[in-house]
Assembly symmetry: C2
C-alpha cells in the first residue's frame, strides 16, 4: 500500500474539509499529509480535530502546503473566488487537484484552471461526491438500458435547503466577493450535474432561467431555476434554493422507464442507498391501479461516496505517479460542462429570462 498511497494537503479549514479529511482516511489509499490555513493555530486545531497523523505538517499559509515536496495532491475547499489563484498555483507546483464545486465563477476561469492542470500533467477532479456512489453506477445502467428505460425524454431535479438567518447573513455562499454564484453555484451545481448525468452529459441546446429568482441584498442568488432543452426534444427543469426545506429530487423519464429518487446528492443513509425504477408501467383493468408498479432497489456500500471519490482520485493520481499515465479527461470535462450550463442560467437571468444558447 505504501507505494500507492497518495499524500494529501488541504488548503483551508472549511467545514466540508472535515468530511473530506475523514474520507481521505477512510479511502485507505491516501494519507493526510499537510494542512494550511492563513492562521497557524486554526490549522493546528483542524489537524488535531480531524485525526491527522502525528507526521502531518501544519502550516500557517496555503503556499507552504504547495511547496511541501511530500504533498502529491491538494484538496481545495476555499471560497469560489479564490479557486483560480490557488488551483492554478497548485497545478504549477505539480500538485494533483481535488477542487470543491463550483469549480470557478465562470467557464473562463474553469478553462484557465483546467489548462493549468493539463499543461502541468496533474489530475483534476471536482468534489461532486454522488457521482462516485455505487448507486450512481446502478442508476446509470438503468438509464442506459434501451429495453428498460429507452430514450430520455424529460428530467427534473431539485436541491433546496432551508438556510437559517445566520447563514443567509454570514455564510461564504451568500457573499458576492467570496461565492458570487450563491445558491446557483452551491446547490444548483448539483441540479445541473444531475440533469447532465441523466442526459449522458450531452449538453442542452439552450437554457432559459425560470422567473422569480431571489437575490439577497448584496445581489447574490439565493433561489432560482431553469429549463433546458436539447436538439432532439429532451427537456430538463430544475429548482435550487436556500429558502426551502432540504429536498434533493431527481426524476428522469424515458420512453420505456422512469427513475425516481429523493436523496441523489446525499443519500439518506451512509451505507445503503435506494432508488426507484418503473419499467413499461401500465394500468390495471379500468385504470384502478398500476401494473406493474415501480420497484425499489437498494445498493450497499462499505465506504461512503466521499471516500470512493477520494479512492478514484487516488487511483488516477497513482497511475500518473507510478505508471506514467496521462491524467483522466473525463472529470475535467464534466466540470466544464456543468459550468457551461451554470453560466447560461446566469446569462439568461441577466438577459431578462431570454433563451441562452450553449456555446461549447
Amino acid at each position: 500500500m505504501a507505494k500507492s498511497t497518495i499524500n494529501f494537503g488541504i488548503l483551508g479549514c472549511a467545514d466540508i474539509a472535515r468530511k473530506v479529511s475523514r474520507a481521505i482516511l477512510l479511502s485507505q489509499h491516501a494519507t493526510l499529509c499537510a494542512v494550511g490555513s492563513r492562521t497557524l493555530s486554526k490549522a493546528q486545531k483542524f489537524a488535531a480535530d480531524n485525526n491527522f497523523p502525528a507526521t502531518a505538517k501544519v502550516y500557517g499559509s496555503y503556499e507552504e502546503v504547495l511547496n511541501d515536496p511530500n504533498v502529491d495532491a491538494v484538496y481545495v475547499p476555499l471560497p469560489t473566488s479564490f479557486h483560480i489563484k490557488w488551483a492554478v498555483l497548485a497545478a504549477q507546483k505539480k500538485k494533483h487537484l481535488l477542487l470543491e464545486k463550483p469549480v470557478g465563477l465562470n467557464v473562463k476561469e474553469v478553462d484557465v484552471i483546467l489548462e493549468a492542470c493539463e499543461s502541468n500533467g496533474v489530475q483534476f477532479m471536482d468534489g461532486t461526491m454522488w457521482m462516485h456512489h455505487p448507486r450512481t453506477d446502478k442508476m446509470r445502467e438503468f438509464l442506459s438500458d434501451a429495453q428498460k428505460f429507452g430514450e430520455l425524454k424529460s428530467v427534473n431535479t431539485c436541491f433546496t435547503l432551508a438556510a437559517d438567518p445566520n447563514f443567509l447573513e454570514n455564510d461564504i455562499r451568500v457573499k458576492p466577493d467570496l461565492d458570487a454564484l450563491g445558491a446557483l453555484g452551491d446547490v444548483g451545481w448539483y441540479c445541473i450535474r444531475g440533469i447532465l448525468w441523466a442526459a449522458d452529459f450531452e449538453l442542452p441546446k439552450s437554457v432559459i432561467a425560470l422567473r422569480n429568482p431571489v437575490f439577497n441584498k448584496a445581489g447574490v442568488i439565493i433561489s432560482c431555476g431553469a429549463s433546458l432543452s436539447w436538439e432532439d426534444g429532451k427537456v430538463g427543469t430544475f429548482h435550487c434554493s436556500f429558502l426551502s426545506n432540504l429536498t434533493m429530487d431527481l426524476t428522469a423519464v424515458g420512453t420505456k422507464g422512469t427513475l425516481h429518487l429523493h436523496d441523489f446528492i446525499i443519500p439518506f443513509e451512509e451505507k445503503k442507498a435506494s432508488f426507484i425504477t418503473a419499467v413499461e408501467s401500465g394500468f390495471k383493468e379500468l385504470v384502478t391501479g398500476w401494473e406493474p408498479k415501480p420497484s425499489e432497489h437498494t445498493v450497499m456500500t462499505d465506504l461512503p461516496q466521499e471516500a470512493l471519490l477520494v479512492r478514484e482520485f487516488c487511483r488516477l493520481v497513482g497511475s500518473i505517479k507510478n505508471e506514467g499515465a496521462k491524467p483522466e479527461k473525463k472529470w475535467p470535462t464534466l466540470s466544464r460542462k456543468t459550468t457551461l450550463v451554470l453560466d447560461a442560467v446566469l446569462a439568461s437571468i441577466k438577459k431578462g429570462f431570454e433563451a441562452v444558447e450553449i456555446v461549447i
Copy 2:
C-alpha cells in the same frame, strides 16, 4: 337511501365511462338510470357489459337521455369538442352535470358551460378523480400546516404515458376535430390541477411554455410543459406527454416541509395510497446522512376515488334536489382556474414561448 339516490344518465360509451359506471354503482348514492349512444346497439352493449340494472333505459341518441324525466344528472365523457353543445343542453334540461376533463377547449367555452349550469341551477363538477381521494385531504392538511410545511416555494408535476402507435394514430385525444388540446388537455390538465392544488388554487401571475413541445402531423400537442410564477415568488413547473413511460409525480417544497408522491392521479393501489412528507429535514454530523428522514404515510379507503367523486357530486345534487340548496361553486371555480392556466400554456406556445399573464 331511496330519497337521496341520484339517477344518472350517461352520454356516450367512452372507455372512461366504464370506470365511472362502476363508480356510480359503488357510490351507493346513485343509480345507473340511462345510457345513450348515437348507435342504439352500442348503448345496449354498454349497459349489458357494465351492470346497468334491468330498469335502466337505453337510447340511440344523447337527446333522449336529456329528455328522460327520471334522469337527475348526466355524466358526459364525450370528446372535448362536443362538450359545449351537450353540456349546455344538459343544463338547459336541468340535468346536473358531471363533465369529463378538459371541460372545454378554452375558458370561453368553459364560461358558457358554467353560466348555463348556474342559470339553470344545476351542479357542475369535472371528472378530476384524485381530488376526491382521502389521501388528497391528508396531503392538504400537511400543506396547510404552517409548522410542518410552511409556505409553498416550488412545485413540480409530471404526467406522462407511453401511447402505442394505434393511440398516436387513432385515439380521440390526438384528433384536432375531437380533442384539439391533445396531451395538454388530457394529461397536462392533471399537472396543472396538481400545481394549483399545491398553491391552494391561487392563480399564477404568468405562464411560460417550455421549449420543445411535440405536435403530431395534424398539429395536436402530444408533449409539452410550462413554468408558472406567482407574484409572491413561488414557482411551478410541469411536463406532460404521450411519449414517455407512465409517470405521475408531484413534489411540493415549502419553507419547512416537502411533499412527494409518484401516483397522485391514479394511486398505485385502489384501497390504499401513500405519500411522503419531510419536515425540517437536516443532515447528520459531517453531512453523512439525513436527520430526520422523510416519512411515508398510508391512507386507506373503502371506496375508490372515482366512487368518492360520484358520492360528493350526489351529495351536492341531493342538497339541491331535496333541500333547495344552491349549487356548490367550489368545483366550477377549480375547473375554470385549471382552464385559465391551460389556455395560457397554449398561448405561450403560440407566441413562441413568451410569458403570458393570467387574466382572471
